[in-house]
C-alpha cells in the first residue's frame, strides 16, 4: 500500500539524474523491471500462476496516486530557514516561459483557466493557492481538501485516461515526475499539444520551490510566496522546539510492515524529515533498499517507533507482539506512536504540519502546536482506514 507509493517516489526522472551514479533512480527503475523478471522466473520454475500474462501489471508501472510524490532528498537540507531561492524564471508578464523539474521548457500564453492535476499533492497546492476553481480534473486519490474529491478523475491506478484528459480541453496539466505519472503518458499528452508541467521534489526545499513554480504557472506568485514563507516559519519553529529538548532518540519510521518491515533508505527524504523532527533516523543501510531485517532493527534498538502505516491498520499493540520485538527499547517504553503518513510524506502545502506531527510523535513533550487536521489513529487499538 504505502510502500509501493513510496518506492515509486524516489529518484528523479531526468536524464541528468540518470547519469549521476549514486542517485536512487537506477536502482528503482530496475526494481520494477526486476520484479517482472522475477515473476517470469517464478513461472519458469514451476509456479503456474506466473504465466506470461502475470508480469504485465508490474511491467507497466502503474501510477498510484494514493499519497503524493514524497520527495527523497539526496542532499540534506542545509538552511531550511532561509527563504527558498526564487525560481530561475524571471518574473514576467504573460506569455510566460517556465522550466519544469525535468528541465522541460514550457510556454504559457496566458493564465491557465482549465487545469488538470495528476497527483494529490499538486491538487492540494492548487487549492491552497486559491485556484481550486480552475481545476477541471484530478485523480481518483484526491482526498484533500474535501472538494477535491469531486473533481472528475482522469488518472487512476492503471494510468492516465487520455480520452478524459482530451475531453476536458485543459490548458495546463500538472503531472508528477519520476514515473509517478508514467513518462509514456506525459509524452503522449505532449504529442497531443497539451501543455504538461512536471513537478518533482527531492527535498523539503524543493517542495517549497515547487509550490512557487506552480504559483508562477497559475499567475498566483504572491499567494505562493506567502504560503512558502508561512511554511518556513512553521518548519523553523519545529526545529527550534526539538532542538530545545536536546535529545535525539533513535527513531524507526515504519513506512510499512507487510510483508516485510519498510524503513527510510539512507539519505532519503523521510530520513531527513525524521532528522528535522529531532530524531536519529534508523535507515536501511542502503540508499536504494527500503526493507530492513528485524535482525538489524533488534541490533539498532529503536527508542521510538513511528507508525507511518497507522492509517492502514497497523497499531502499537500488534507491533509490540511481533516475534523478536519485545526487547526493543521503544517497545519496552511503550514509545510506539502512530502518525498520519499523508501529511508527513505528501510534498504539498501541509508538509510543515506533517513535520510538526512527526516531531510530536518523536517528542510528545515538545513545545509544538499540534497540527490542525490530525487524524485520530489507533484510538481503539486499530485504526479505521
Amino acid at each position: 500500500m504505502v510502500v509501493l507509493d513510496f518506492l515509486r517516489e524516489k529518484g528523479k526522472g531526468t536524464m541528468d539524474s540518470l547519469s549521476q551514479a549514486p542517485r536512487p533512480l537506477a536502482g528503482r527503475g530496475l526494481s520494477f523491471a526486476r520484479l517482472g523478471l522475477l515473476l517470469a522466473l517464478a513461472g519458469l520454475f514451476g509456479c503456474q500462476p506466473a504465466s506470461p500474462a502475470a508480469p504485465t501489471p508490474a511491467a507497466t508501472v502503474p501510477p498510484t496516486p494514493t499519497a503524493s510524490p514524497a520527495p527523497t532528498a539526496t542532499v540534506p537540507p542545509t538552511e531550511t530557514a532561509a527563504p527558498a531561492s526564487p525560481t530561475l524564471i524571471p518574473e514576467a508578464a504573460w506569455p510566460r516561459t517556465l522550466v519544469d523539474d525535468e528541465g522541460t521548457t514550457i510556454e504559457l500564453a496566458e493564465p491557465p483557466q482549465r487545469v488538470i492535476s495528476l497527483s494529490p499533492a499538486n491538487t492540494e497546492i492548487v487549492f491552497a493557492l486559491g485556484a481550486g476553481d480552475r481545476l477541471v480534473g484530478g485523480t481518483d486519490f484526491d482526498d484533500y481538501p474535501p472538494e477535491a474529491a469531486a473533481l472528475p478523475d482522469v488518472a487512476t491506478f492503471t494510468g492516465v485516461l487520455h480520452e478524459a484528459v482530451a475531453g476536458l480541453e485543459p490548458d495546463l496539466v500538472l503531472a508528477a515526475g519520476n514515473n509517478f505519472t508514467p513518462a509514456d503518458d506525459i509524452e503522449y499528452m505532449r504529442d497531443f499539444g497539451i501543455t504538461v508541467l512536471v513537478v518533482y521534489a527531492e527535498t523539503v526545499d524543493e517542495v517549497l520551490a515547487d509550490i512557487e513554480l506552480i504559483g508562477h504557472a497559475l499567475g498566483e506568485d504572491e499567494a505562493a510566496a506567502e504560503m512558502v514563507s508561512e511554511m518556513e516559519g512553521r518548519i523553523g519553529a519545529v526545529e527550534a522546539a526539538t532542538a530545545a529538548i536536546g535529545e535525539r532518540p533513535r527513531v524507526l519510521y515504519q513506512i510499512g510492515s507487510v510483508p516485510e518491515i519498510y524503513a527510510p533508505a539512507d539519505d532519503s527524504f523521510l530520513a531527513d524529515m525524521v532528522g528535522l523532527a529531532g530524531g536519529e533516523p534508523i535507515t536501511t543501510g542502503s540508499p536504494t533498499a527500503f526493507s530492513i531485517s528485524v535482525e538489524q532493527l533488534v541490533a539498532q534498538d529503536p527508542e521510538v517507533i513511528v507508525l507511518g502505516d497507522a492509517a492502514y491498520g497497523v497499531c502499537p499493540a500488534e507491533v509490540a507482539a511481533r516475534p523478536g520485538w519485545s526487547g526493543m527499547t521503544a517497545v519496552r517504553d511503550g514509545a510506539i506512536r502512530p502518525v498520519s503518513d499523508i501529511i508527513v510524506t505528501r510534498p504539498g502545502p501541509r508538509l510543515a504540519e506533517g513535520l510538526a506531527a512527526l516531531a510530536l510523535a518523536i517528542h510528545p513533550e515538545a513545545d509544538i502546536e499540534p497540527p490542525a487536521d490530525l487524524l485520530a489513529l489507533c484510538a481503539e487499538g486499530r485504526a479505521v482506514r
Partner: protein
C-alpha cells in the same frame, strides 16, 4: 540344460552376493546429516547482524541444552538468535522436507520426472488464495497465520481437489489426462491471479513477495502450527514407500502386485498436497526444491522409494536451509530466486555428467 541345474543349485544357497552392493545410501545419508547440521549452525550463526560465533554457540548451549554458561552476550544477540534465526532455519528445513517429499511423491504417482509439488495446481491455487486475501477487507489472525496463509493453504488443497475430480483420477485412467487437467486448471487459476494482481493496486508488491517465497516472516508460533501438519503428511508418505515402488511400473502392474491403487493414490495425493499446502502457507512459492532434490537423490540411490523418500527429505531440508542462508546474506532476497539460481545449473550439470546412465 546345464544352466537349469546350476540355477537350481544356486537358488538353494544364499545368493544375495549376486546383487551388487547398494548404491551408497549410507554415505549419502551421512553426507545429508552433515549438511543439515552445518546448515543449522551456519543458519543460526550468520545473518545481516554479526553475532560472534562463540556467543552463538554458548547461547545455543545455554538455551537449548541448558548448559550453565555465563551470559556474556547482549540481550539483542539472544533475541536475534533465539527468536529470529532459529525459527527461521527450522522453518526452512521443515518446508524443504515437505517440498522434497511432495516432489518425490508426485513424480512417482504421476510417473513423470518433470512433476513437482506444484504440478496439479497447488501453486496456482495457493497464489490465487493469497492474492484474494490481500483484496479482502478482512483481518484474521490465527496462531501466527493471517488470512493470506489460510487462503493460500485452502487454495492449494482446493485446486488439487478440483483437478482430482475433473480428471476422474479415482479411476484407472491415463495419467496424461491428469497432467493436462492440472495444467488447464492451473492456467485458469493463473488468469484469476493475473486479474487479481491487476486489480490489487498497491498490494502488488506483497503478492510478488509471496510468489517468490521467503522465510523472513518465520516465527516459532507459525512453525509450531505448521510442523505437525508437515510431520503428519510426511509420515503418511514415508509409510507408503512400498506403494510408490509398486507404482514404478504403472498402475496396472501395481494392482497386479497387490496394491489397492485407487486408495493408495488418493492417500498419497492427499498427503503430498497437504504438506505442499502447509509449506506454501508458511513460506510462499519456492520452486525447484521439489523437482531437483528427488532427482539428485535418485541419481545416487536409484528409484527405490524406501531410500528415495527419507534421503530426499534430508537433502530437501539442508538445501533449503542453505538457500535461505544465501538469500539473507545480501540483505533479503526472495529465497525462490536462490533455489532457482543454485538449483537449475546444478541440475543441468548432473544431467550432463550422468547422461550416459541417467536420462530424464
Amino acid at each position: 540344460m546345464s544352466t537349469r541345474v546350476a540355477g537350481r543349485v544356486d537358488a538353494a544357497r544364499p545368493t544375495v552376493a549376486l546383487l551388487p552392493a547398494s548404491r551408497r545410501p549410507v554415505a549419502l545419508a551421512l553426507t545429508g546429516l552433515l549438511a543439515l547440521a552445518t546448515a543449522l549452525v551456519l543458519g543460526v550463526a550468520l545473518g545481516n547482524v554479526a553475532v560472534p560465533v562463540a556467543d552463538t554457540l554458548a547461547l545455543l548451549a545455554h538455551r537449548l541444552l541448558g548448559w550453565p554458561v555465563s551470559v556474556t552476550w547482549p540481550a539483542s544477540a539472544e533475541t536475534i538468535i533465539v527468536e529470529l534465526r532459529l525459527p527461521r532455519v527450522l522453518t526452512a528445513m521443515a518446508v524443504g522436507v515437505a517440498l522434497a517429499l511432495a516432489g518425490a511423491t508426485f513424480q512417482g504417482l504421476l510417473r513423470n520426472p518433470l512433476a513437482d509439488p506444484y504440478v496439479l495446481g497447488t501453486a496456482s491455487g495457493a497464489a490465487l488464495g493469497a492474492a484474494l486475501a490481500m483484496l479482502l477487507p478482512i483481518q484474521v489472525a490465527l496462531l501466527g497465520f493471517g488470512l493470506m496463509h489460510l487462503l493460500a493453504f485452502g487454495g492449494a488443497l482446493l485446486a488439487v481437489a478440483v483437478v482430482y475430480r475433473l480428471s476422474r483420477l479415482g479411476e484407472l485412467n491415463s495419467l496424461t489426462s491428469v497432467l493436462l487437467t492440472g495444467y488447464a486448471v492451473g492456467s485458469l487459476l493463473a488468469a484469476g491471479l493475473a486479474m487479481t494482481m491487476y486489480l490489487s493496486g498497491s498490494h502488488l508488491r506483497q503478492i510478488f513477495f509471496y510468489l517468490l517465497g521467503s522465510f523472513s516472516l518465520s516465527s516459532w508460533q507459525q512453525l509450531l502450527v505448521g510442523l505437525p501438519v508437515i510431520l503428519l503428511g510426511c509420515l503418511v508418505i514415508l509409510g507408503r514407500a512400498r506403494s510408490l515402488n509398486a507404482l514404478l511400473l504403472g498402475e496396472e502392474t501395481a494392482a497386479h502386485l497387490g496394491l489397492n491403487v485407487r486408495r493408495e493414490r488418493l492417500v498419497l495425493l492427499g498427503a503430498a498436497t497437504l504438506i505442499t499446502g502447509a509449506a506454501v502457507a508458511m513460506s510462499g512459492l519456492i520452486g525447484f526444491v521439489g523437482l531437483v532434490v528427488p532427482h539428485l537423490v535418485r541419481l545416487v540411490v536409484g528409484p527405490n522409494a524406501r531410500l528415495l523418500l527419507p534421503l530426499s527429505a534430508l537433502f530437501g531440508a539442508s538445501f533449503l536451509a542453505f538457500a535461505d542462508l544465501v538469500a539473507r546474506m545480501p540483505g533479503e532476497l526472495p529465497v525462490g530466486i536462490v533455489t532457482a539460481v543454485i538449483g537449475a545449473p546444478f541440475f543441468l550439470y548432473l544431467l550432463r555428467r550422468y547422461r550416459a546412465g541417467y536420462a530424464l
